[in-house]
């Protein structure tokens, strides 16, 4: 969440750290490295918000199991051959060095630009959810009030957080107050 917004998670330490050095030396990107073998990795990854997440093919199945669907398009799987999941971009490493670097360069410029340009505007429905969150309603209440399922309410909540870059309800409440969606007396 803090600092670099590119991360690498790999079971193969050497490959992971090698990629990290490559990204830093050639592209000036300071990526965080997470070892797939460490117990804290998944907790820390879940708490962080990366624009790009590199992952070696051995770790991909577990990552896909633990990763929210909306985040899948940010995954780049590296290794030999193509990954099995269609959402995931592939970076083949069983190719000549110049081909690998070219592919990496292409992928970084396309992907980082695309993710940086993501629109941050909330939809009217998301604003409804935000107002209710900011006045202390829990997901079940929000779902009942807006006649939507709890699952949909949770998904709105996730999208709001991703768009605004604010994770906690307290932070979202401040955002809603600053933007006049709620006042100290309640919903406007």
């Amino acid at each position: 969440m803090n600092g670099p917004r590119v991360a690498i998670v790999a079971a193969d330490m050497l490959a992971g750290l090698g990629l990290r050095t490559l990204l830093f030396e050639l592209f000036g990107l300071a990526a965080s490295f997470f070892s797939a073998g460490s117990g804290d990795t998944w907790r820390e990854l879940a708490a962080s918000d990366h624009l790009l997440l590199f992952c070696d093919s051995a770790t991909l199945p577990e990552l896909l199991r633990r990763c929210a669907e909306s985040r899948r398009k940010r995954i780049v799987a590296f290794g030999h051959g193509e990954p099995s999941d269609d959402d995931v971009v592939s970076l083949r490493t069983d190719v000549p060095p110049e081909t690998l670097l070219e592919a990496l360069d292409h992928l970084l410029s396309a992907r980082l630009q695309e993710t940086l340009d993501e629109p941050a505007a909330l939809t009217p429905r998301e604003i409804d959810v935000l107002k209710l969150l900011a006045t202390g309603r829990i997901i079940k209440e929000i779902a009942d009030l807006l006649h939507i399922s709890a699952h949909t309410a949770i998904s709105h909540r996730k999208n709001i957080s991703e768009k605004l870059g604010i994770k906690t309800v307290s932070g979202l409440t401040v955002y809603a107050t600053i933007h006049g969606y709620v006042s100290s007396e309640g919903i406007l």
């Binding site: 969440m1 803090n2 830093f24 300071a30 965080s32 490295f33 804290d40 907790r43 708490a47 605004l164 870059g165 604010i166 994770k167 906690t168 307290s170 932070g171 409440t173 401040v174 955002y175 107050t177 600053i178 933007h179």
Partner: protein, 246 residues
């Protein structure tokens, strides 16, 4: 991005010049300014500081990807608790009041014409209250419990009774470190992305720097607590339980 580790033979002054954010860490071991050219080993010997613990604490703070769990688990629980208490004191006595007065200065710099600053100030108030409560809980419950387990463990041969609060074990106290982290990030992000004019930009910069420092320090603190203190106590709990069954 450096993988170079600090060693006992290095001059402490050189280490501090590598990373000035290590200064408050060093102060937690009662080492202040005026250290001359002494090496880490010499300073530790002079002041009866556990040198292995000291150097690892500097290394893990300096490189967030470095965490020698096995090495740190060798440290005495009293040493770990002592260090964690000093970091609490640093937050409560210095860092939180310092950020608090900066935030007041920021709100004042808006001359009551800026309605976006008040909500941010209340977010920090809320965080500060929760953080102090969390620290208080650790000081009042977690640390005394950890120390009593360590006492029982050391006195095991004499048949010392296990401490009270035994059933749940130390993991009962595991808590909301992650949420604390997120609130601090939100605070920085709200300032950077969403506050309106007018306000004093220099004060705002200082707030971001200090909040970032707190976030980083607290993350390090939580790593030591969750992965070292709790793990060490858990291992002793298991050994004591095994001995009780035998």
């Amino acid at each position: 991005m450096s993988y170079k580790r600090f060693t006992l033979r290095m001059k402490l002054s050189d280490i501090l010049h590598t990373n000035y954010f290590l200064l408050p860490i060093v102060h937690r071991f009662d080492i202040r300014y005026g250290i001359g050219d002494l090496s880490v080993a010499e300073i530790c010997r002079e002041r009866s500081i556990d040198q292995d613990f000291f150097i690892e604490i500097l290394n893990i703070y300096h490189d967030e990807h470095y965490f020698p769990e096995a090495e740190l688990l060798k440290a005495d629980v009293r040493l770990i608790v002592g260090y964690l208490r000093k970091t609490h004191a640093y937050y409560v006595d210095y860092l939180l009041p310092s950020i608090d007065s900066l935030i007041h200065a920021l709100v004042e710099s808006g001359h009551a014409h800026n309605s976006t600053l008040g909500p941010v100030a209340s977010l920090f108030d809320e965080f500060s209250r929760e953080f102090r409560k969390h620290i208080d809980g650790e000081e009042q419950q977690v640390f005394p419990y950890a120390l009593s387990v360590a006492d029982a463990y050391r006195g095991q041969a004499d048949g010392t009774r296990p401490p009270t609060g035994w059933d749940g074990g130390i993991r009962c106290f595991e808590d909301e470190h992650l949420l604390m982290d997120e609130k601090l990030f939100d605070l920085k992000n709200l300032l950077i992305k969403y506050i309106g004019e007018p306000f004093d930009v220099h004060v705002c910069n200082s707030i971001i720097f200090e909040v970032d420092r707190l976030e980083r320090d607290a993350r390090d603190h939580a790593r030591i607590e969750d992965r070292i203190l709790f793990t060490a106590v858990e291992q002793m709990e298991k050994a004591l339980r095994g001995a009780a069954r035998a």
